[in-house]
């Protein structure tokens, strides 16, 4: 599986073009900050299944990093990788953005028409499993058909996605 982070707009037509470009740019900066180059392997874990994945992106000028907040780069890089991952691996597409306090960053739609609340978080390095549990709890309060949390750790890099269906 290959994730081309420069193709976010093509993967998710509903995302604003400028936002897609920002996310791709931050992903490049965040990954390069951690010593990675285009073509890097991503350890992707979708629920209990591991996927061999490669990341492609348009290399960014590292000098641009000084103009952006470090935390924002990490969060936006995580968002770019998560959105590419759920598009390529699960064929989810963005329906709309969630408001702050809505327990989810994005409302997605799967090929069966289910609406999925997706909460994304990013870290440079550290305990992604703990963060994933926190985010899964947070998104568990959303109003969608299904809920998913995705945590991206840039140092490895790895992406862990946990999904839960709503009990009838």
């Amino acid at each position: 599986m290959r994730l081309d982070l420069a193709q976010l707009k093509e993967m998710h037509p509903a995302i604003p073009l400028a936002r897609a470009a920002d996310l791709s740019h931050c992903a490049a900066l965040g990954l390069q900050r951690n010593g990675h180059a285009p073509g890097a392997r991503l350890r992707a874990r979708l629920d209990a299944i591991n996927h061999d994945t490669a990341l492609d992106w348009t290399a960014a000028d590292d000098e641009a990093r000084t103009q952006l907040d470090r935390h924002r780069i990490t969060e936006d890089a995580a968002e770019a990788i998560s959105l590419a991952l759920v598009s390529v691996a699960l064929s989810w597409v963005i329906r709309r953005r969630g408001q702050r306090g809505d327990h989810a960053d994005w409302i997605m739609r799967d090929p069966e028409g289910n609406r999925i609340a997706l909460e994304v978080s990013g870290i440079d390095a550290g305990d992604h499993a703990h963060r994933l549990r926190d985010k899964a709890r947070q998104v568990g309060r959303s109003l969608a058909d299904q809920r998913a949390a995705c945590v991206v750790e840039l140092a490895t890099p790895l992406a862990a996605l946990a999904t839960t269906s709503v009990e009838p």
Binding site: A14, R97, G98, R100, G101, D102, I107, D145
Partner: protein, 138 residues
């Protein structure tokens, strides 16, 4: 306007409002009001029983509240709570939003809240705004 178009609009509006809020911009409130108006349009287009319809209803109330448009938030909440096809979860979320605001007001102005009650304060506020002059209160 289609639901897809409204979804794109609300996405752009939310991203913009959040960015302005992060900058402590004085125009953030206007941006959240715009979010609320688009969410309201989505709520008209989608039933409360639909997931996106429910999210839009909660979003319309939440964004109005953040914008400081408390009367609008309460009016929308009243309208949405009266809909028969709304889920218990949606009703609870909307009631929580309104309760949170009232608790916040009560904590900020405890004596006023205790003496007159939030319902009466809201009524007087609406009357003052409607008559456009401070006295007499209707």
């Amino acid at each position: 306007m289609t639901v897809d178009e409204l979804n794109m609009l609300v996405t752009e509006a939310i991203l913009r409002a959040d960015a302005l809020a992060d900058l402590d911009s004085p125009t953030a409130a206007e941006a959240y009001l715009e979010v609320s108006l688009i969410e309201e349009r989505l709520a008209v287009a989608l039933p409360a029983s639909d997931v996106e319809g429910a999210i839009a209803r909660r979003g319309a109330v939440r964004a109005a509240d953040i914008a400081g448009e408390h009367d609008r938030a309460r009016d929308l909440a009243t309208r949405y709570l009266a809909e028969e096809d709304g889920s218990p979860e949606l009703r609870e979320e909307i009631m929580t939003l309104i309760d949170e605001r009232e608790r916040s007001f009560g904590a900020r102005y405890p004596h006023v809240a205790a003496r007159f009650g939030l319902v009466e304060i809201a009524r007087v506020t609406r009357a003052l705004v409607k008559q456009g002059a401070p006295f007499p209160v209707g």
